[in-house]
Amino acid sequence: MRFVDEYRDGEAVRRAAAAIASIQTRPWTLMEICGGQTHSILKFGLDQLLPEALTLVHGPGCPVCVTPLELIDQAVEIAARREVIFTSFGDMLRVPGSRKSLLQVKSEGGDVRVVYSPLDAVRLAEENPMRQVVFFAVGFETTAPANAMAVWRAHELGLPNFTILCSHVLVPPAIDAILGAPDSRIQGFLAAGHVCTVEGTGDYEPLARKYHVPIVVTGFEPVDLMAGILICVQALEKGEANVENAYRRSAHTAGNPAARALVRRMFRTCDRAWRGIGVIPGSGLALREEFGAFDAAHRFESAHIRTEEPKECIAGEILLGHKRPSQCGAFGGRCTPEHPLGAPMVSAEGACAAYYAYRRTA
């Protein structure tokens, strides 16, 4: 298939692996930020082709995984209301809240629907004027423009029955938190190509300088990932710490100006709690006050719901790259995709789920 096969070409991947091995002179530890990248690495088995002295640590870029437990609990409570049609991207449905998941709400008779685009949720609101349609707006910079557009559209249509339950998060403040941690061992970053396609690369320059780490904008296919790793290792070997772009076919320095403008029009940055990690200052997006009428937490007064994270789940250490999923005592035993203790075991992009699916005995 065109535009897929060429980026999964075994020959090209093996050439890149050989190039990495030939220039590497000492051990390096890189973090791939995005869960989609983690998933690709394990699914295609890229880590099996890399030198042993190159360690890939899996970052927090899985929107399902970092959505706080209490937000799931709020979603569950809103979705169970009779007047509500609760809409969400598919992979949020299975995430367990402290008592139940959205799928359980659905099986108990709640009107929970999977949509592929937030604009479909706006259309549902138009078609069902007697119902309240709520969209679960989670994700990184990647999904923010579409969610901003949905609210803008609802605003233009004057829809009184559309709201979003918003838990948007931003990548650069998370990188800042990871590198700023006293025990950080990350020496180079593979930044998420899709995020940079929207937001550009400007926010990463100060981080590369502040912590003296190379940050390489990297795609998601095997050839993209190997190219990103190669450029990052080259920079480390030379002692350079710049922002480089290994995903030029999609990401550009300025990002997508129209999308960025819309996101800034609808959202303001705010402090945001990340599941298992805690509050990271300036790491979230919230609706601006003038669009407060579209905020589901406000309309359904769900913000009072507070939930403690379970003690046994070490999602925070996994998401910060301190531990691998297989180093967790609960992994594969008390915590499985059927009975997850935490979100990284639920989401297709979660590091624990990826290890569980691809690495148990192979």
């Binding site: 298939m1 897929v4 999964r8 070409d9 075994g10 991947v13 093996r14 989609g36 394990l42 699914k43 295609f44 088995g45 890229l46 099996q48 082709l49 929107p63 399902v64 809409t87 991207f89 598919g90 992979d91 949020m92 449905l93 299975r94 799928l103 629907r113 999977v114 949509v115 592929y116 479909d120 549902l124 989670v138 994700g139 990184f140 990647t142 999904t143 899709h194 095997p222 499985t336 995709p337 059927e338 989401s347 297709a348 992009e349 569980y356 699916a357 691809y358 690495r359 148990r360 005995t361 192979a362």
Partner: protein
């Protein structure tokens, strides 16, 4: 109500002597051989989809379950649970497509039942079909017969049905020319049995859960490992594209007109050629091999040359966020 439906819709469409008798049950004479007997219930949404509907699916699914036992399918029963408010025109269309699918498969619907339930107590229409068939002497199909060295074949492009259904499901509509592959597979199975006989060890139609789930089950039953070659697995471009967009793995997507066969290496090529000559098997391919280790596991040899486990799917695949 039920009697009126029987007389005005079911009997005329599904006409045959056993059914026409309107007895409490059908009395049948079967040809010699062991009897295969199976049942399945069809509760799909939407009930009409590109390439079929719940009626044709209810015939194909049960005919295929018999075919996967190595049986020649002969007779079906049909039970209908109809929600009040289903348009009669829809019911007629469903029954007509059942009748056509049965005629193509060479089976007769010999007994049936209809219940109408209150609005809200069902979802338009549910259909249960049971089927009987006869397994000829000398045919021995069982998942436990997969043994190291055997070759794994698939009869065509995978994941077509699941993606075609998804494309018309509420909330996820996308434009595609994909049509479900729903079809009766007994003739395709017959073509394989003709050339391989007892060397055909295992048959399976990879419906819900897809190829990955079916092969995982076989690996567990036979206590062997199955290794797939990723680049050999036939996937249609439109299916691949939809899977890329939705974040699905085609290995887990449902099929309704595809068959997996595990065959002794001596006869694999003959089955492949027989299938490729058959209209339902033109894109058949050899996709893997049975090995000893790791026991009970399905392993994928990826296109970049690495190996990984392909696990059973937990729950349904859900479209991902980004």
């Amino acid at each position: 109500m039920s009697r009126k439906l029987t007389e005005s819709i079911f009997l005329p469409a599904l006409k045959n002597p056993a059914l026409d008798a309107l007895h409490d049950g059908a009395i049948l004479s079967l040809p010699p051989g062991r009897v295969a007997f199976t049942t399945d219930s069809y509760v799909i949404d939407p009930i009409f989809f590109p390439g079929g509907d719940i009626g044709s699916l209810a015939v194909h699914g049960t005919v295929n379950d018999l075919a996967m036992c190595g049986a020649r399918p002969l007779h079906l029963s049909a039970g209908f649970i109809i929600e009040e408010g289903l348009p009669l025109a829809d019911l007629r269309r469903i029954v007509a497509s059942m009748a056509q699918a049965a005629a193509v498969a060479g089976v007769t619907v010999v007994t049936g039942d209809t219940k109408v339930v209150d609005r809200g107590k069902g979802d338009q229409i549910f259909i249960n079909t049971a089927g009987i068939g006869v397994v000829p002497e000398g045919i021995e199909i069982s998942p436990t017969r997969a043994r190291p060295g055997d070759v794994v074949l698939v009869s065509g492009e995978i994941a077509v049905h699941g993606i075609a259904i998804l494309s018309v499901r509420q909330g996820l509509q996308f434009e595609t020319e994909l049509r479900s592959d729903s079809a009766s597979l007994h003739d395709l199975v017959g073509a394989a049995l003709d050339v391989a006989g007892t060397h055909l060890h295992v048959l399976r139609d990879p419906t819900r859960g897809g190829v990955a789930s079916a092969l995982n089950e076989i690996a567990a039953s036979a206590n062997v490992s199955i290794e797939l070659e990723e680049r050999s697995i036939p996937v249609n471009e439109a299916v691949q594209g939809a899977c890329e967009l939705l974040g699905f793995d085609p290995l887990y997507v449902a099929n309704e007109g595809k068959c997996l066969a595990i065959v002794a290496p001596s006869h694999a090529k003959a089955v492949l050629e027989a299938w490729r000559r058959h209209p339902l098997g033109r894109d058949a391919a050899i996709i893997g091999q049975v090995r000893e280790e790791p026991r009970g596991r399905l392993v994928l040899h990826t296109r970049i040359g690495a190996r990984r486990v392909v696990d059973m799917l937990s729950g349904e695949q859900l479209p991902r966020i980004c």
